[in-house]
């Protein structure tokens, strides 16, 4: 799906391995690669930021788009589960600020140098990160009671 010549350019400059929706990069090169994408290749539109939990590691994805060519490119970074920390790109793309706050809120993946890393969707004093596989779906908290025995899903 992503434009082949851009993927090729990324593979030469960075050790990028293409996948279905874009390229996968090591965590250290994320910031420089996105800055190159924005300035050199014209991918100035920020589409979305999301996280996925695999068996071994977390994955943080950022999608950017070149509005002239209309091509959308996903940049994926693998983050180890024991030290979930990655560079924040909030200063490269302003839109990433809230998306990264949501990934921190729901997955617990920290973002270095993020302007305002707080919880965005859950209450501020909420324990745990809900979207992790280890997190039970119907966890009681606040006004949500513990599920009654026959009601437990």
């Amino acid at each position: 799906m992503p434009a082949p010549e851009v993927v090729a350019a990324l593979r030469t400059r960075f050790s990028a391995t293409p996948f279905a929706l874009g390229v996968e990069l090591p965590a250290t090169e994320l910031l420089t690669a996105l800055r190159a994408l924005r300035d050199a290749h014209g991918y100035r539109y920020y589409v979305l930021g999301t996280g996925t939990e695999r068996e071994t590691a977390f994955e943080v994805l950022h999608a950017v788009r070149n509005l002239e060519s209309g091509d959308t490119l996903f940049v994926k970074v693998a983050v180890p589960k024991d030290a979930p920390e990655v560079d924040s790109i909030a200063f490269v793309y302003a839109g990433a600020e809230w998306q990264e706050r949501e990934i921190w809120d729901l997955f617990g993946v920290g973002f270095k140098a993020h302007p305002d890393l707080r919880r965005i969707l859950m209450p501020d004093d909420y324990p745990g990160h809900p979207l992790r596989k280890s997190f039970a779906m119907d966890t009681p908290w606040g006004y949500r009671p513990a599920p009654a025995p026959e009601d437990a899903s």
Partner: protein
């Protein structure tokens, strides 16, 4: 042109729970030129509370859009004396229209406490009644009755304006009988 009138839905004759003098008065003496209605003050005040029920503008999710449609021109709750009041102090009915989440629940509790007695609550939509399909999700309170006492449950996802109208009539009948859960 664009303004042909839509069929008006809901009671246009006097609803069962009062409206004409005969329904609310114990005894009405009619003589040429006027009449005297004898009624207990309790019934009078209940009639007043029923016919000027001011709800709080408080919509959460999709049910709020249906609530707005009920207040709009076609179903028009103003016919029953209901004006939307923005502050809890001046409202005596709270319509919980939408999903109650754990972050919103303490807010609902404070708003309910700020309302002046006597106050009533209509839980509109299955999200407010029981949490619906979000029932087992970590961030949803399964039913608003975990937070505040509820008088009338209106089923539906979202309940059609006619269903909300029926809920309002049920509340009016309940107010006329004088008992209320919310107190």
């Amino acid at each position: 042109m664009a303004g042909e009138t839509l069929p008006i839905v809901g009671q246009t004759t006097a609803p069962a729970g009062g409206g004409t003098l005969e329904d609310i008065a114990e005894e009405v003496v009619r003589f040429p030129g006027g009449g005297i209605a004898l009624l207990r003050t309790d019934a009078l005040f209940h009639w007043a509370q029923k016919s000027s029920m001011w709800p709080l503008t408080f919509g959460l999710a999709c049910c709020a859009i249906e609530m707005m449609a009920t207040f709009a021109g076609r179903y028009d709750l103003d016919r029953f004396g209901m004006i939307l009041r923005p502050t809890p102090r001046q409202s005596d009915l709270m319509i919980i229209a939408g999903t109650v989440t754990i972050k919103m629940a303490p807010r609902i509790r404070t708003l309910y406490d700020q309302m002046a007695h006597p106050k009533w609550v209509i839980s509109m939509g299955s999200c407010a009644n029981s949490g619906d399909h979000y029932r087992n999700v970590y961030s949803v309170v399964p039913g608003v009755d975990h937070v505040i006492p509820v008088d009338i449950y209106v089923a539906g996802c979202p309940p059609t304006p006619e269903a909300l109208l029926e809920g309002v009539f049920a509340l009016q009948r309940k107010v006329m009988e004088g008992n209320r859960a919310g107190a």
